[in-house]
Symmetry: D2
Subunit: 144 residues, 4 copies
């Protein structure tokens, strides 16, 4: 989408984020970096503001992080911009405030226009959301 | 999940919301009411804070509204509480700030534990997200 | 895909099928026609050969019929050929041999390349599978 | 589902199948076995009868194999029987007759009633279908 910024200091020093993305910045911010043997790792800390009425992380928060993660994982394939075609999530376990959230995944196919991603969000290492997504490079199918 | 509140004045007078849901209140708030011939209608106004880096509504915002809508649509079947098992969204068109967002849908099956919902989010009447979801009544499969 | 054939006699007279599709012909055949007020209607009769080890229709049979139905429903938008990008099905109820299976649905968006469909399969009128699909026009993203 | 049979001779000697599943036997048969380091591996050979009108494997055939694979992968968790709640597939590449089809995957969560699976189908080693599924133990939510 837009240009990522690398955090220079603090607990997320060395991680990237997309500050121009207003919704992501407001929901997260979410951070990502490449780690040896794990590929792109996305992360944030679960806070009370991410919780639903039952006291657990809202499904929409998990799906927002998943959508973010898909673009972070597929960043090299979507340089000119891309938009989500489909996103599907299977909710595996409840997440409480304070948990360290991480998302990892892989590009399962990078076609000329369509990019397929699948991944997993964990909370303190425990699987929380299994997700799959298809995105398409922009100014193609979803404009207007 | 928790108890809905009916708005008493202002532009959303007569609509319900779930103020105890911190994430929804922060992302929306989202509102719902039953309308003759349409069933449960959910709504909010798209604002700049809902947009992604490209200037269109973030996929996570649409999915959060979809997740909310599923519980509003299925409210009568989930009195004791329920959690999302699966949510899948197909992104049909880009949404800009200022649009009136609405979600409607139907319960396609209400089983003993599993409730199935499908619906559509529109932006100023134009289809934006087609969604399906399965939710399960709580203290069953997803606890802990 | 290929050219449909209109059945000339027997119980399916007036319905179309795609005889060049070996897998569909072997699994079905499946039939479709436009009906006033319902759009494209797809149909076949459930037989013992469609059942799983538990005596109910196999999920794969329902999904095969759904995949067929998506192309029948979207036929006017996929004249030059198209392939499935994503298909998702929610299983609503068990189906027994002898049931009349029908599928109906709608194109929720027809973009330049991507076509989105959602629909419902019923068995003797009872909802059995809710499905959504994205297909892409061919010789584009999924070739080889 | 039902009791698997171990093949005693021929090219699939040592592999299991479910001969009581009429639809699977007619579409496949499909075979499975545990392999060191890979978990449960499912396999069959693509034949002309599995192809669509365009000469490539029908999406319904891939989804049928995926549905089969989910039960093979989750066999230890579904001893008393289970039925599919949701199955979603992303189609990654076209498959031609003659290819050796394999499916592998993992149980991402085994709850009291709901079992979550994700996996990948390959054709001669090339990713063809990425799938996710939720199944529920039987005589619970989807009976009649």
């Amino acid at each position: 989408m837009s240009t990522p910024t690398v955090i220079e200091s603090g607990p997320w020093a060395g991680w990237k984020t997309w500050p121009q993305d207003t919704f992501e910045t407001g929901t997260g911010p979410f951070y990502s970096r490449a780690e040896p043997g794990r590929g792109v790792v996305c992360a944030f800390i679960a806070e009370p503001r991410h919780m639903n009425g039952g006291g657990f992380m809202h499904g929409g928060c998990l799906l927002t992080f998943a959508d973010y993660a898909c673009f972070a994982i597929a960043e090299e394939y979507t340089v000119g911009g891309a938009v989500t075609v489909n996103l599907s999530g299977d909710f595996l376990s409840a997440v409480s405030a304070g948990a360290r959230m991480e998302a990892t995944g892989e590009v399962t196919r990078a076609g000329g226009r369509l990019i397929y991603i699948r991944g997993m969000i964990t909370a303190d290492g425990k699987p929380a959301l299994s997700f799959t997504s298809v995105v398409t490079k922009v100014n193609r199918d979803r404009a207007g």
